[in-house]
Amino acid sequence: VKALKVLEILSGLAVGGIFIYAAWSKILDPGEFSGLIGAYKLFPRWSLNLIAITLPWVEMVAGVMMVTGIFRRPASLAVLALCVGFLFSLGWAMHHGYDISCGCFGGETEHKVGWSDIIRDLLLIAGCLFCLFAPKKRRALV
């Protein structure tokens, strides 16, 4: 159980850390992020800015919670939902053969969406599932 607990904390640190990093550049440049979402041609134009304004903040707060362990379980669930959404979007873009950048970490990555993004997303999902279903401890988290 102790080893599992350590693994849970490590997954939280990894997934949460990645989410905080990903959220940061998007928060700094919402206009660019809006354009990146638009390139997926998945959401109507009117909703793009709303997503670009709110999504990075959910990523940031949920990421911080996963790292610190405050409400890690519900935060993992929120992140899991996001990752499933990302997986669908990535699949959509690859299925249509769009030559677009992932936008996962804002605008600085140039490469086109591909399997590496899918694999990273699946790893994140695994981390979330682990945090979500790791055995509960009865005492308060540190």
Binding site: S34, N49, W57, L77
Partner: protein, 270 residues
């Protein structure tokens, strides 16, 4: 489990509200609903753009990121990315009058940043904004001339922004000061109402000639007899170098002004 789901929902909703609040106060914030794409009659096509640029006709503004701008842009374009708008606006505003026609562009395709930029500029009173929707991509593909490097303030050899007779009147009503480049004798014989005389080759300190009523961002309307481009360009550079950023040029000059029956004054410096 129910509690977990409820908390997860809260973890989604509360930060979303934080994001909305942050966007409202963030100077680099974006509109909640994207501004509509430009109307057909607001679009500049490739041929028109080539003409505009080769004749240095209008102020062109690049809405892409600084990094993209540095790697190549349409010659003479002003760099104004969305996320740096607030910092650059003052300089832009000193250089370009609100009533002037502006052309904005971004990468091309479905790029949105020029639409957002136009929306921001509209909010500051720039009403006449055109969109070159082909964007930098089309410009580059067509093998048109490209300029590299960062935006440089127009201190030297900057294109002088032209104003016509109508704009002269508008700007003067808003507090712009006319500056007469002709010799003192012609000036005394008659000059544009309220003008200050700074003859070509003036050896004194232009700041002194302008007096205390002129601020660094006051719009200055340089004119000579007619079409005195060189004299105006020279003085504009001197003025910019000492911090006066609002120099414009009225190519019609005193000839056109007088012929149009606009208000003139005679006599020496008031």
């Amino acid at each position: 489990m129910k509690k977990t789901i409820l908390l997860a929902l809260l973890i989604s909703i509360i930060p979303s509200l934080m994001g909305l609040a942050f966007n409202a106060v963030n100077p680099g914030g974006i509109p909640l609903i994207p501004p509509p794409p430009p109307e057909k009659d607001r679009i500049v096509d490739f041929q028109q753009m080539v003409f505009i640029v080769s004749n240095d006709q209008l102020t062109v503004v690049d809405a892409r990121r600084h990094q993209d701008y540095d790697e190549g842009h349409i010659p003479g374009a002003f760099s104004m990315p969305e996320d740096d708008f607030e910092r650059l606006y003052a300089e832009f505003n000193a250089w370009v009058h609100e009533s002037e026609r502006i052309v904005v562009y971004c990468q091309g395709g479905d790029c949105e940043s020029s639409i957002n930029l136009a929306w921001k500029l509209k909010g500051r009173g720039y009403a006449d904004i055109m969109h070159y929707t082909g964007g930098f991509h089309e410009w580059e593909e067509a093998g048109q001339e490209i300029e590299y490097g960062p935006w440089e303030p127009p201190f030297e050899d900057a294109p002088l922004i032209q104003v016509d007779l109508g704009l002269m009147n508008t700007m003067m009503a808003e507090g712009a000061i006319a500056i007469d480049l002709r010799d003192p004798v012609s000036f005394e014989a008659g000059h544009i109402r309220g003008a200050v005389n700074i003859p070509a080759g003036y050896s004194g300190d232009p700041a002194e000639a302008l007096g205390d009523e002129v601020y660094s961002d006051t719009d200055l309307l340089l004119y000579g007899e007619a079409e005195d481009w060189d004299a105006a360009g020279e003085l504009a550079n001197v003025l910019r170098s000492i911090g006066f950023t609002g120099a414009h040029f009225y190519p019609g000059g005193y000839q056109e002004w007088e012929a149009a029956g606009e208000e003139i004054e005679t006599g020496g410096a008031s």
